[in-house]
Each structure stands twice: as structure tokens, then as C-alpha cells.
Amino acid sequence: MKERAIGEVILDLKNISLSFGAMRVLNNISFDVRKSEIRSIIGPNGAGKSSMLNVINGVYHPQEGEISFRGEVRKQMKVHEAAGFGIARTFQNIALFKGMSTLDNIMTGRNLKMKSSMFSQAIYWGKAQKEEIEHRRKVEEIIDFLEIQAIRKTPVGRLPYGMQKRVELGRALAAEPEILLLDEPMAGMNVEEKEDMSRFVLDINDEFGTTIVLIEHDMGVVMDISDRVVVLDYGRQLADGTPDVVRNNQDVIDAYLGVSH
């Protein structure tokens, strides 16, 4: 294995707190993400991991705290703006477009890069057609990368779970994101599928230098592939550091082994 070139901090979260009504979901969470690293967020169910991702890509707006992205403090942003900033994600419960094929789902991931006018698309001539073909090629490269050639034209609703997860990853990749947020990409998979998915995650990081923020339950996988891990528990931040540091952190051990406090 060669060394990855991990760069400067591109995403910095400071003292993030988020509540829904009286329910406090995130409590004073702070961590940063460096360029080209694989950053994992782990923690038991209800620890606020998914909420954390939702905060990062603007679905939830934290009541307190500050997010800076590429050195700039981020203002409140609309949901669709995150994609424009180069943040793509996958979802814990697959959020594919069920009525469309694998190909079309991934094509949709490139929507921001498509610039042809509606009129051009209507006559399907000139720019629109050229664009379709150009992007199709890009999408085919992703299909090739994720080894899903055989299901290219299958409606995603008919695919098995593991494949759907892969297609969703493809859709996120299609945006050529700078940061890829993966919400439990390996949940509900068997060992073989998990291995495949880990390989893809590593390859993506390796090939494209994409920064990856990953939520995962499977501790083994997380410790294997992450550069740094942050541990959440009921909205609190238990630990943050390299897998080794986290593995030896007493709070983490207690929380995971269920030792009463």
C-alpha cells in the first residue's frame, strides 16, 4: 500500500449543536476533515451520526456552532446548494429514483454539470445531444469502476439491496464530488458485499483523491479503512483520532461494551 497524500483541513465543524424541539440530537460536536482522507463517524444507533451528515450537507441547520468549508465560514444554505459545493452523499435507507434505470440514476447525478437549454433538449440536437453522449461516457466509466455493467439498463427497483447501494454510490460519484458522505454504505450486506464496498471506498479515495466521510456500524471495516475516526454517543462526542487512538479510548470501550457509567 502506498501513502495517500492527505492535505489540509477542508471542512471544519466547531461546536455544532442541533435540536428538534426539545430533543437534543447533537451536542457541541467539533471535528475537522482533511483533504483526501477517509474520516469515519461511528457510534450506536441514535448517536446522531446521520444528523451529523445532514448538517454537513445542509439538510439540517444546527442552532449553534460554525461550519467552515474550504476556509470559509458557511452561511445557512439550501439543500440543493451542497451539491454545488462538491458535497455528494449516499443514504442509510437507499434513496434511489425507483422508476429509473441504473444508467439514468447515475446520469441524474451529473445534473449540475449539464448546461444545455430546455429548447436544445427538446429538439435533442446540437448541444443537448453532445452533452448526453459526453456525460454518458463519464457515467459508463463509473459503471465500469463499480462493476455494475450487467445491470446498466435494469430499473433500480428490481435490483437486490447490495446492488442498489452500489448504484447509489455511483450516483454520488457522478457529481465528481470533493467530499463524499457515505451513510452506512455497508449496512445489511454480507461479508463479500462488504469487502467489495470497502474496496470501492478505498479505490475512490485512491483514484480520485475524494475526501470521504463515512458512517458505519461495522467496527472492523471502519478501523481498517479509516484515517481518523470520531465517535458519537447520544449526541455527545466521545473521542476523535486515528483508529488506534479511538480503539484504546476508555470512554469508547465503555460505550461499546456497555459498561455502566
Binding site: 446521520s50 445532514n54 439538510v59 443514504f91 442509510q92 434513496a95
Partner: protein, 330 residues
Amino acid sequence: MRLERDVIYIILASLLLMVAIPWMAGTLSEDIFFEWPFFFEVAIGGLLSGVMYSLVALGFVLIFKASGVFNFAQGAMVLFSALTLVGLNEMGLPMWLSVIVTLLVMLVLAIAIERVVLRSLVNQEHIILFMATIGIAYFLDGFGQTIWGSEVKNLDIGFSQEPGFYFDGLILINDFDLIAAVIAGILVIVLALFFQYTRIGRALRAVADDHQAALSVGIPLKHIWVIVWAVAGIVALVAGIMWGSKLGVQFSLALIALKALPVLILGGFTSVPGAIIGGLLIGAGEKLAEVFIAPMIGGGIEDWFAYMLALAFLVFRPQGLFGEKIIERV
């Protein structure tokens, strides 16, 4: 139930507007006659007919709550039940017996709908079920008129249609409307009690939240469907009697469903109180607008005013006044 603060604000604001706009219109425009007793007369008349709207909307809510089906056939059920009642009555059955037989017919109808339509379309998308209820509506309209004929029939249940003076003779109100409102009110109370205090009622409420939970109450889903459709049928019959005796039993009864729709979106598809308050707001608003605004823009606005009113409400609360908030989860 707990009223959210913004709902209260919206209702208060709309009440204020209901008073303010006619008053302003009266002062600004010479076409419009505005006096306080007259204003109240119109408003109360509106509220009373609003109760009638609520009655139809109630049928929608019951079914939507328990099965998620947007029952477009509610209007057809009103027409069908009224036609059946009058038809039986004309055949020589005494009124009380006709009512009982009609109730039985509505029960049979509910069972048939569950057997034929709902069971076959279980787990389908909402829009499919919605379309199916339009199919039911067509079928019932056709069926009812095939059997009972399509000429206008009178339904006389012995209430006076004469207007009477109330509040020291200041305000002229239709007696019939008042009685209808009372009956509708009673029905609403009965239904509320039914939902609150009977086992089936509780099951129905559970079903609205979670089908699994409903099963644990111990009543099969299909029974629940039959029950709500039957109850909706009873509500339709009451509405049919009221509207039928007011307008005569004829095809246009089916169209009152269109009147109930804005009530529904205003109150929220899943809320019984929403149907009541929505009906009142729409009824009063519509009447007030017709009298105090319509003359300025050419009149005949009753077709769409209720919708626009509801639409305006929706922009503030997309789920209706009392509807459950839709939370996006990812």
C-alpha cells in the same frame, strides 16, 4: 388535542380579515351595502351552511384517516344514499323503515367496496386508489340513477324551510339551516365519542397511524375498512337527507363533494376537528365574499372562492390547519 400556536394565529387572523375586508369594502365601494346586523346575518348563514360542508368533508376524513384513500366517491355516496332513501320512500315504505333499509344498503355497499376494490388494490399507490374511487363515483352515480331515475325528487322531512328572525328580530336566519346545523353538530359529537371511547374507534385511530399497530388491537384490517366505509356511508346518508331536503334529490348532490374539497385541504385530510373548523371558515368566508366582495369583480365567485381561500391557507400550512406535519427524513 393540542392546538399549535400558529394555527391559532392563522384562525384569528382570518377571522379578523373576515370582518375587516367586508367593512373596508363597505366603506370604500358604493356597490356594497354594509351594516353590522346584515354582516352577522351573512356570517351566521355562512357558518350554518359551512356545517353542511363539514358533514360531507367528515366522510372524506374518516376514510382518509383509516385507509389513506382519498375517497372521491363521497359525493356520489351522498347522492346514492339520498336517491335510495327517496326511492324506497316513494315505493311506499314509511320513512323510518326507508332510513333503516338505506343504512343497510350503505353497509352492503361498504362491504362490496372493500371486497371488490380495496382488497384488490391494497398496497397500490395512493393515486391509483384515488382513481379507483373516481371509478366508484361514476359507478354509483350511474347505478343510482339507473335504478331510481334522474328526475328531481323532493325529500320532505318535515322541517320548515321558512326563515325566522332571531336576536330580537335583528337577524334573519333560515330555520332549516339551523336545524341541519344542530343535527350535523350532534353527528360530529357522536362520531367524536365513537372514536374516543369505543374499541373499534380506537382501532380506527390506530390504523391511521400504523397498520401493524392496528392489527395488534385485534381487529382485522379488512373489517376496519368495512366499518369506516359504512360509517362514511351513514355520514353520507345524513348529508344526503340534509342537502336533499334543501336542494331536492338530484344529480347535483354529487357535486357537493367539490364543495367539501377546499374544506378538507383547509382543515387537513386527517383531522375531524379540521373538517368542522374548515367547514365553518369556508362557509362563512364564502358567503361573506359573495356578498361583500363579489359585486366588485362581477359576481359568481362561489365556484372558486373556497378553493382560493384554502389555497391561501395552504401556502402557510402545506398540511392544512390540523393535518399532520410531513417530516422529511433521509
